[in-house]
Every structure is written in C-alpha cells, then in structure tokens.
C-alpha cells in the first residue's frame, strides 16, 4: 500500500506552489475520492494537497450582482446561506447531493471539478452561467462552467490549476425546475440531473436555459436562442416544436435517460405554456 505525503498548506500561495507537482491530488471533502474505495485502507497517490482548511477557499461573499463561493465551502455551509442569498436552482441541486452528513464534507469545488462525469451541481451552475476561478502561479482564469463540457458532451475539465472560487450571478428567474433521475444517493451511469430556468419581460420570454448532465451533458445555445423572444404563454404547437428539437438532441443519451429527458423538457415547456 502506497504511503502518501500529505501537504497541509496554510494559505493559497503555498497551495499554488505545491499544485505544480506532477500527479499531486487535490483533496478537500474527499467524498468523491473515498466513496469508491471499499477496502480497509485508503488508496491515495504519492502526494496529496489537503486544501480543506485554506482560509481563502472557505469564504463566501454576496453582492447585488453575484454570490461568490470558496471552493472548499461545504454543501451544508452553502445551504446555510439561506434562501435569500442562494439561487433556488443551486439550492435545489445542493439539497439533492448525498445525505446531510455527506454534505457536511462534500465541497462545491470538488463537485464541479469532477473529471470522470458531471456531478449534480453542474446543470444548475450551467443554467445560471456560473464562473469558476482557476488559479496557478501565473494568475487567475475565470471560466464559464459550460466550458467544462467538451464538443462531444463529455467532461472537459482543464488540467492543472486549482479551483478557488465560484461566482454565481444573482438574477431573477420566474420559472425554474431541477430534477434528479436515477439512483439518488450516489452517481451511477443512469443518474443525471435536469435543470431549467426562464425569465420573462413584459410577456416576452427573455431567457430560457435547459441543461442536463450525467455521464455526458446536453445544453444547446442555439435551441435556447430559438425560444427567446417568443410571447408567453407558448402555444401547444410552439412547445411541441421546441420539444422535438430537444428530443433529437437527446439521441446521444442511453434510451432510458433520453425518455426521461423528453418528459422533463415537456414539463419545463409546460411551465411556459400556462
């Protein structure tokens, strides 16, 4: 069994020095890493960067325009911000992750930085057009979470750098929906999350966003653009045409997920048809 060297950086600057080491594992909540290890001993790589206690990664701040969340803020701490601070779509997503005890360990940064699949916060954050700050010694880069989706819909989280903060725009949403399908306690191939958010201005649809993700992600800006600007409520014919577009997008999904996605799209469009 490999014995790892554990680094406990006292601040972000020290962590950014260490993150350059090849093969080093960033460890915050550790729920994603350890939940798949059923043996007695934990298996970790040769070097581990323990970031849970770094003060800069534990901060949250709220302005009129956005909520900033440190990457090592746990999902429980996120939910404790309350409904007045937390966008409802993100709150729903956080509540659907694990159990309350797991949420005391799991961090939002870890959830969004998963490389093998999209975890449950991604669809909500994608709908909200959240930004993620990635830092290395060279400086900071802000990336929209939608860029973590490759052209083939698979996760494309950038190599190198440390996720330090997430910035979620504070906007008014008139309708939203978040549903998790498949086993609820831990992601399986048949697990995915559907997120929808829409806003109207003077009876016209000003924004409509739909994201769905599990092993692969679906989000179509062109379909969203085709909806925006329509008068509300949508006619049943308009809703059916839009739904058809989304259902053809779902051809890449396994059959069961494609069916569930279709039902959820119908439900979301139904909210705009009433």
């Amino acid at each position: 069994m490999l014995v790892s060297e554990i680094h406990f950086p006292k601040d972000l600057a020290e962590a950014l020095e260490l993150i350059r080491r090849p093969g080093i594992l960033v460890f915050a909540g550790g729920t994603g890493i350890l939940r798949e290890q059923g043996g007695r001993g934990i298996s970790l790589p040769g070097e581990v960067l323990f970031v849970r206690e770094i003060p800069e990664l534990r901060r949250t701040s709220l302005t009129e325009r956005f909520l900033e969340i440190g990457a090592a803020v746990t999902l429980s701490e996120l939910l404790e911000l309350g409904d007045s601070a937390l966008p409802p779509l993100l709150a729903e997503a956080a509540r659907g992750i694990g159990t309350p005890a797991i949420r005391n360990l799991a961090t939002l940064g870890g959830n969004i930085a998963a490389r093998d699949r999209f975890m449950d916060s991604w669809p909500a954050l994608a709908c909200l057009d959240a930004l993620v700050e990635l830092r290395d010694r060279g400086g900071a880069t802000w990336m929209n979470v939608n860029r973590f989706m490759g052209d083939d819909g698979k996760p494309a989280f950038p190599e190198g750098g440390l996720v330090t903060r997430l910035r979620v725009p504070i906007e008014r949403w008139d309708a939203f929906l978040l549903r998790k399908v498949g086993p609820s306690d831990y992601p399986a191939p048949e697990t995915a999350v559907f997120a929808f958010a829409a806003r109207a201005e003077k009876g016209i649809l000003a924004e409509a966003r739909i994201a769905f993700a599990g092993d692969i992600a679906l989000r179509s800006r062109s379909l969203e653009s085709s909806i925006i600007g329509r008068g509300l409520p949508l006619s049943s014919r308009e809703a059916a045409t839009i739904a058809e577009g989304y259902k053809s997008l779902a051809a890449a999904l396994p059959e069961g997920l494609a069916l569930q996605f279709g039902v959820l799209v119908d439900g979301a469009l139904g909210m705009l048809s009433r």
Binding site: E5, T31, L34, I42, R52
Partner: protein, 162 residues
C-alpha cells in the same frame, strides 16, 4: 505521522498512516467500538461522529484530515444532557431501533435539533435519511423529534428559573 486532536473532550495524539480511515483509527487505537466501519463509503451512517460539531461519516474521512480538530463519538456524546434528551425523547415516542442504528440515529437526531430547533416532519425525515436503516417507523421519528424539542425546552426553562 502523529496527529493530535481533541477526542471526546480530551487532547489526544495517535500514530496514523496516511491510508487509515478515521473510523478504523478510533476503533483500533482508542477502543471506541460504538462506531462501526461497515460500508466504507459513507452510506450506512454507522460510523457517524461529530467533527467540529458537524455530523460526518468517519469511514470516508482520512485520519490525517482531523489534525487539530474536535471529534465526538457516541461514547463522548453519551455524557451530555443532549444525549439524555434524545434517548428519552425516543422512549416517549415509542421509537424502537435495531442494535445497528441506535447510535447513529441518536447522533443524527441531535445534529438536526442543534441546527433546526423546531423541525418540520419533512425536515426530520430528510435529515434522518443519513441513516438509511429501515428498522424505524418514520412517524415515530417525527414524534420523537417533537418529544425531544419539548423535553429540551422544559429543561432550558427549568434551568432559567433556578
């Protein structure tokens, strides 16, 4: 490596390997057998401890990660008035648990009432989903939460009157 932390109110140190789970360290080095390390994926709840006052599954917590932290196990929690509130609230509500999940359910209920002083039935059931053992009647869980709230309020009221 040697890690120092506070365990059930006492400063302790232990030699821990980087491969050790906290649940195994607590059982093997400190003889705290009130927690189990069964599922090793944080799902069953039988390894619950309080980490700096928050309920966590210690089987998915590396021992090295509790350096400088405060850990309370069911053995330590059993010395508190809050424990007695929960146990007597369970009895008042007629709540029965199997031998496997009694400790975790006591800790989970105490954790809920620490954060939400008067939980709704929905909040009780959502929080107690941390312990998925199905031996307990959900209605009794909700009744127990109500009984504990009343008992705790009475205790605090009596203390204020003294």
């Amino acid at each position: 490596m040697t890690i120092s932390f506070i365990l059930n109110g006492e400063d302790v140190s232990a030699n821990a390997r980087t491969v050790d789970r906290l649940s195994d360290l607590l059982r093997d080095a400190f003889g705290l057998l009130g927690l189990q390390s069964d599922c090793r994926c944080g799902r069953c709840g039988r390894c619950f401890v309080f980490l700096d006052g928050r309920l966590v599954p210690s089987c998915i917590l590396p021992a090295f990660s509790v350096r400088g932290k405060e850990i309370v196990t069911i053995e330590g929690f059993a010395q508190t008035e809050e424990y007695r509130d929960v146990v007597e609230g369970f009895e008042t509500a007629g709540l029965e648990t199997c031998g496997f999940c009694k400790g975790p359910k006591i800790l989970a209920m105490a954790d809920l009432l620490e954060r939400v002083p008067r939980p709704t039935p929905r909040e009780v059931l959502a929080h107690m989903s941390s312990v998925p053992c199905r031996c307990t009647d959900p209605v009794a869980l909700v009744e127990a939460a109500r009984a504990i709230v009343e008992r705790r309020a009475g205790r605090i009221y009596r203390r204020a009157g003294q």
